[in-house]
């Protein structure tokens, strides 16, 4: 399937391995990525905090660009924070014709118009709803047997439920569980899996921010997880990049590898950890998990 692809800023900045691993995994899943390289940052909620209309208009521009991609079935992102910020803007734009017309008026100088009703899905949602778990299962080359994976959802992709279309029909707040199981791994439930990683307040209250990250990592360790997986690069920054600092705040050794979702999928599809950029993590998955026994060729 062809998608208008919004990679976000951080996947091309401080977590380049996310963008890279998505590019490697997409062809294996038969996803054609048409990158929205003309689009700007979603604002991550911060621009909306500054000026709501500005955030709505910048995102409407991105939506309009996505709607111009010929043959694209929908728009896809690989960042929960982008998903959350864009869904909030889209909710307002789709709810009120007058407001939408007003925002489109600002875009008219560039000849762009946002038409109500864009489908914008995070890779996690696309994986379950468009590709399907049966198809995903049929593509597995190396099941993640014996790998105990803690899902880390974060906030932006699970709340608020109504805005994000979460319900009985689409239990999107359980999709990481379903994907881990499909890939052959063991799901590890722990207290912090749908809590905040702390990243949004890292510059405002560093202590509280790192305490959040450290607690969740510690909870996952106590639950005996080998690694975490997250659909959000900002969560990844606080959980992986900042892990050495989080260790100091919570006063314990953590050493918990955190994988991006496309990396976990890529492993099961037979890609090499290095190819997926896992050597770029601060807590190297390869130094903590013995992949030769945990993943590759283990008995079912």
């Amino acid at each position: 399937m062809k998608v208008a692809y919004w990679p976000g800023c951080v996947s091309r900045g401080f977590t380049p391995e996310l963008h890279g691993s998505m590019a490697k995994v997409a062809p294996l899943l038969d996803i054609e990525l048409v990158e929205l390289d003309r689009a700007c940052c979603t604002g991550a909620g911060v621009i909306a905090e500054h000026n709501q209309e500005l955030a709505d208009t910048l995102n409407a521009r991105t939506f309009a660009l996505a709607q111009q991609v010929p043959g694209a079935e929908l728009m896809m992102n690989i960042c929960s924070t982008c998903q959350g910020a864009q869904s909030e803007c889209q909710e307002r734009l789709d709810a009120n014709a007058e407001y939408r017309a007003h925002v489109n008026e600002t875009l008219s100088g560039e000849g762009l118009t946002y038409e109500k009703g864009l489908t914008n899905k995070n890779f996690l949602w696309l994986l379950v709803e468009e590709i399907g778990l049966d198809r995903l299962s049929s593509l597995i080359k190396t099941p993640l047997t014996n790998l105990k994976v803690g899902p880390f959802y974060g906030c932006y992709i699970v709340r608020p439920r109504a805005r994000l279309g979460i319900g009985q029909e689409h239990p999107r707040d359980h999709y990481l569980h379903m994907v881990i199981e499909t890939l052959g791994g063991t799901v590890i439930d722990y207290a912090g899996m749908r809590k905040c990683c702390g990243f949004p307040i890292i510059t405002m209250n560093k202590q509280a921010s790192l305490k959040q990250a450290g607690r969740h990592l510690g909870d996952a360790m106590d639950a005996d997880a080998d690694c975490l997986v997250t659909p959000c690069p900002l969560c990844h920054l606080n959980l992986d990049l900042q892990q050495p600092l989080a260790e100091r705040v919570v006063g314990r050794d953590l050493q918990m590898p955190v994988l991006h979702l496309p990396q976990l999928v890529g492993l099961a599809l037979g890609l090499d950890p290095k190819e997926l950029g896992m050597n770029r993590h601060v807590v190297r998955p390869t130094s903590v998990i013995d992949w030769s026994t945990s993943v590759v060729g283990a008995a079912a």
Binding site: G13, D37, N51, L58, A97, T203, N205, H281
Partner: protein, 392 residues
Amino acid sequence: MSETHDRPPESFTLRLRRYNPESGDAPYWEEHTVELEPHRSVLEGILQARDKYDGSIGIRCSCRQAICGSCGIRVNGEPSLACHTHLDEAKRTASDGVIEIEPMGNMPVLKDLIVDMDAVHWKKIQRVTPWLLAKQPVPEREYIVPRESMVDVTQTMACIQCGACVSDCLAMEVDPGFVGPAALAKAYRFVGDPRDDQQFERLNDLAQDPHGLFDCTHCFKCVEACPKDVNPMGQIMRLRRVATGDYHIVDRNNGERHEAAFTTLVKDHGLLWEAELLPRSYGGNSWFGKFSPHAGKELLSSLPAILKALMRGKVTPAGALKPHKIPKGDLKSVQSIYEKIEGRPERYELNLYISGQDEEPAPAEAPDLLAAAAGSGDPPGAPENPEESVSQ
């Protein structure tokens, strides 16, 4: 009567968390099975268990119709009003078919499902001076204010003080000093009130407090928890907008600098430049921000993480020093959007709580709701004669 109300009574098993701090015993779980029609509330289930099996079960309740806010508890781990949660729905969301009932979080338990609202919730509400500090002189008769400005604060006035948002606030979980969602929503009640005389003082106080306006982690827990759609996080964001945008308050918690740096970097490059965002958030919103002593100290403390990232090739020095950008023509378009919107005389907000969902082209009355939150300013398509819209 709807179909669901005709269904006969069914069995529901409740797993209650019992705790009496005065007993000296540890908390324990206890199961009771009650018989009720599925549309009945979890509160009715708890009360039946109390009547039938154990008169000592502690629960606070009063109105039984989601108005008084007394019966806040956690049902299957989620903050809820016991009287506002149907038994069948609670059974459906239970992990093992047994409805799990606990007291709210972030507040000490007095007994069973009763938490100490005074120790946390009410103390925090008091913290924000929850009354009108009236402009002087007080008019002899009533204040005359624009209708829109009062419509704007109705969302926060819908709060029933149940404490559900406080219960699950993730910032409060790691920083118990955080003023919190309920109290900050209450603060907007007065900051947004045109009769109040101390809006700057209120905002400045909360912005400078290390546990105040900028301590919210934007996790949407309170938005989800609120049974009255108060959207406490949304009110916190509005407080921030007014503090930084209207009163230009520069706080000591880097809140204003972070917002300014983020917004400016996206304007200058189209994409976020993370390596520049952090030093500017600490040292000020310019390229020179990183050379301020405040930024230097902060960067030094982050050195272990920075060095690790460099070592791993996660971040390259060249990559950190050079922003990634969108094409020139597109950047120009983005900048013209910034200029147009930031050049408006008033900020422009759409609050769906007030405007509602509108499938069709807006009726005559809808447009003035667009600008309701901003207080004034002419929204697009606003009727020339406002009386016309009122008459509808």
